[in-house]
Amino acid sequence: MTLFDMVSGDTGRIVRISGAGPKGIRQRLLDMGVTRGTEVRVERHAPLGDPVEISIKGYCLALRMQEAQEIEVEPISGVCVPPA
């Protein structure tokens, strides 16, 4: 499952960033805190469905669905609020 498949309000834990896509984007996501084991929550999608806003490490990050597809997550059940 990837971030692409999650809907607003879903919470998950990052498993890995798959290698596809341009070289810089992977590093950029890592720099913004998209690292293995980090909890993310999908806050909302933009009115046209893309990009998506996620809450990660206590702040909000917007990324395109194309990038969201590269981020593998495992859903967390029973957790509603990620720690700030």
Partner: protein
């Protein structure tokens, strides 16, 4: 990209240099303002502070040079800002780095601190925005953080200017103490550490590298497969280092089943998370963040776009309301307005110079046309531009602009740009109420992706900047007096269609290549700080106004010369009225001859030779179009403010009708960017190629569209609306 003058002047002063580093939105710029009192803006929008600014601060009888580095999240080679910041520190002119941290978002902020620590420059951490952290239910222990990281930590408030003496005192002692202990840096884990250790020894063995770089820092960069570090090593011929680094990376990858750069980033975040845990504790009083509640409305699927339109509309109202009173469309308002006051200054100047007309006709003509007509025309718009930038700066300060980028990214992405492009387009006049493409081109610096940036830069001149407004206003008054608002709306929509269409075309046929990703922080909402909004608006207005004194003055003189020489022979046109003689003189001049030579072609779009001359003037600055048109139609002196005689004249002219006027408005909207914009494009794109391209491309598009409008209008028998 690094401002050499900032460095040189820092060197010349021989002051200790304090470099401010930090994440975007961490309050770095407000800290800079609080330290130096300098003119600069606080910004909630990622990366507005891209150029390096310098100021001076005093503490305990010592002067410090304060350098404001671009806001960054990391120190990779993938972004220009990060390279600028990194090189500035590496160049060794920095005595101490102050890392400004957003206390409410400590973990991600410490990720950068972890990397700065590795550069082993003396460092101080400034904990900013403690109040917001408190609101979020977090208390921070500065001492615990200092013990954990091994550098001084100072609590400050950039917005309120608190903690600055303490910060400077900490900087002084950090400089005295020298580089921080290496023991507090990130532990990358056994396998990676061993690899780094071996490479560090290798780097230390190359004298040229060891002299310039902290060996461990470079070793880490090599293991990260950093392109820029690799290039430096290659340049010095130490290719064996690259081979060793490759080998080490493979070992790491085999061990962790992840590439080395990922392992390193994760370890750094581990370090940041550990340090955050050690120095924070929850108060248990976390309120629901206002930002979440606001975003639930602002970014709502249905309400979001409606509110976006409402915000745009309120900008219209704000500027139009002010402009009605301030005589924005120059001949509708009163004379007490700032715009009117500006005009009055230039009128007085004209009065003072009037006696020259008989004594020194050439000097009088030069002053009247080049200085008063050219420069005065630009200066009259300065108050308007300032009012508009006030609104936009306030909007940026709230953080809403990042949401605009979020909401619109999908649409702009289709046309080969990205959400952030919207800022540049709004600044350039995308809201339909004035603006200027010069700061618009500069605003593209917020785009990290080179191709998106170039495309945006090339299409912002299509927006309706303030200088095009007098042309529209004059023609609307003449031919669409009853339809002022709908026509302006059509012009606004058309500018967007052309800009988006051109972006799509450029992205598909000229600047091809894969679309670049979009990863952007949505910063928390803030109430704008009045002082910073005013400073920000002033900065941009200054940028606009400055071209009046420089480029526009030069070009105005040049255009004046082209229209003044060669003069009519003494004996010609003796029976003409002065205005007729002026028109005949213009026809006889270089510009007049070119205008007449082009007439057979330009007639396709309905432009006669008089119009051609006016449009040529517009290559320099769109401000001069109306004035030149007035002269060429024997109207004598036409002040943009008092263009109604010209309006009336054109309305009565049987050769002019609504179709022709509209074709001219379309042409003026689209054709070649003014010289100030061209030079901005040259500077920002790094080559004349794109500046010249935009001149040719835009003019071609403009002409084709103007011909289509004119011929279609004629074919449909339209004319007098």
């Amino acid at each position: 990209m690094v401002s050499t003058s900032a460095r040189e002047s820092a060197l010349a002063h021989r002051n200790a240099v304090i470099a401010l580093a930090g994440n975007p939105n961490a309050g770095k710029t407000s800290t800079f303002n609080a330290l130096t009192g300098a003119f600069q803006q606080v910004s909630n929008y990622p990366g507005v502070t891209v150029s390096i600014k310098e100021g001076t601060a005093h503490h305990a009888g010592v002067d410090y040079s304060i350098v404001d580095l671009p806001g960054i999240y990391s120190l990779t080679a993938y972004s220009q800002e990060e390279m600028v910041a990194r090189n500035f520190i590496l160049d060794g002119q920095v005595d101490v780095v102050v890392d400004v941290l957003d206390s409410s978002n400590l973990e991600r902020n410490l990720y950068l601190a972890a990397q700065l620590l590795e550069m082993r420059t003396p460092m101080v951490l400034a904990l900013n925005m403690m109040d917001i952290a408190h609101k979020r239910g977090i208390t921070l222990d500065a001492r615990a953080l200092s013990v954990r990281i091994g550098v001084p930590v100072v609590v400050i408030s950039g917005n309120r200017g608190e903690g600055m003496p303490e910060l400077l005192a900490a900087c002084a002692s950090a400089i005295a103490a020298g580089p921080p202990e290496a023991t507090h840096t990130v532990d990358y884990g056994h396998e990676v550490e061993e690899a780094i250790e071996r490479l560090t020894a290798d780097v230390a063995g190359v004298a040229e590298l060891a002299a310039r770089y902290e060996p461990r820092w470079l070793a880490v960069k090599l293991v990260e497969n950093d392109e820029s570090a690799g290039a430096v090593v290659q340049q010095l011929g130490a290719t064996f280092l690259l081979e060793r680094a490759q080998a080490e990376m493979q070992v790491i990858e085999r061990h962790y089943h992840e590439d080395a750069a990922t392992v390193i980033a994760e370890r750094r975040y581990g370090f940041a998370a550990g340090a955050t845990r050690d120095c924070t504790r929850p108060t248990g009083e976390a309120r629901q963040f206002a930002t979440e509640r606001i975003d639930a409305v602002m970014c709502h699927r249905v309400l979001g776009p409606i509110l976006l339109v409402a915000v745009v509309a309120s900008l219209f109202v704000w500027v139009f309301k002010i402009s009605d009173e301030w005589a924005w469309i120059p001949w509708f308002g009163g004379w007490l307005s700032p715009t009117g006051w500006m005009a009055w200054c230039f009128e007085e100047l004209a009065q003072v110079c009037a006696p020259l007309e008989n004594e020194a006709p050439m000097l009088h003509s030069l002053i009247a046309h080049a200085l008063i007509g050219g420069v005065g025309g630009v200066m009259e718009f300065v108050p308007l531009i300032f009012v508009m930038f006030l609104f936009i700066a306030a909007l940026e300060d709230t953080g809403y602009v990042a949401r605009v980028a979020f909401i619109l990214d999908k649409v702009l992405h289709i046309f080969g740009m990205q959400g952030k492009s919207i800022i540049a387009m709004i600044v350039s006049g995308g809201l339909g109420a004035g603006g200027c493409a010069v700061p618009g081109v500069l605003a593209t610096r917020t785009l990290r992706e080179e191709k998106d940036r170039l495309v945006t830069m090339l299409v912002v001149p299509f927006m309706n900047c303030g200088a095009k407004m007098p042309v529209y206003a004059m023609l609307i008054a003449a031919f669409f007096p009853a339809h002022r608002t709908p026509v302006m709306l059509v012009m606004w929509l058309l500018s967007w269609c052309v800009a988006l269409g051109a972006a799509w075309f450029l992205r598909h046929y000229v600047i091809r290549g894969e679309q670049t990703p979009f990863v952007m922080e949505l910063p928390p909402y803030h109430i704008p700080v009045l002082r910073s909004v005013v400073l920000h608006a002033w900065d941009r207005t200054w940028m606009y106004g400055r071209k009046a004194g420089t480029i526009i003055l030069c070009i105005s003189v040049l255009m004046w010369a082209l229209m003044y020489f060669p003069q009519l022979p003494e004996d010609a046109g003796l029976r003409m009225s002065p205005n007729e003689r002026a028109a005949a003189g213009l026809a006889h001049s270089f510009a007049g001859r070119v205008g007449q030579a082009m007439a057979p072609v330009s007639e396709l779009a309905g432009f006669d030779w008089q119009t051609n001359i006016a449009l040529m003037g517009g290559f320099a600055a769109k401000e001069v179009v109306v004035g030149t048109l007035g002269t060429s139609y024997s109207m004598g002196e036409i002040e943009a403010k008092e263009a109604s005689p010209l309006s009336e004249r054109l309305a009565k002219d049987p050769d002019w009708d609504a179709v022709r006027a509209f074709a001219m408005m379309v042409f003026v909207m689209i054709y070649a960017p003014c010289l100030a914009t061209m030079s901005a494009i040259r500077r920002e794109s790094g080559s004349w190629k794109w500046a010249l391209f935009s001149t040719g491309f835009n003019t071609a598009v403009a002409f084709v569209l103007a011909v289509v409008v004119f011929q279609t209008g004629r074919a449909m028998g339209l004319g007098h609306l």
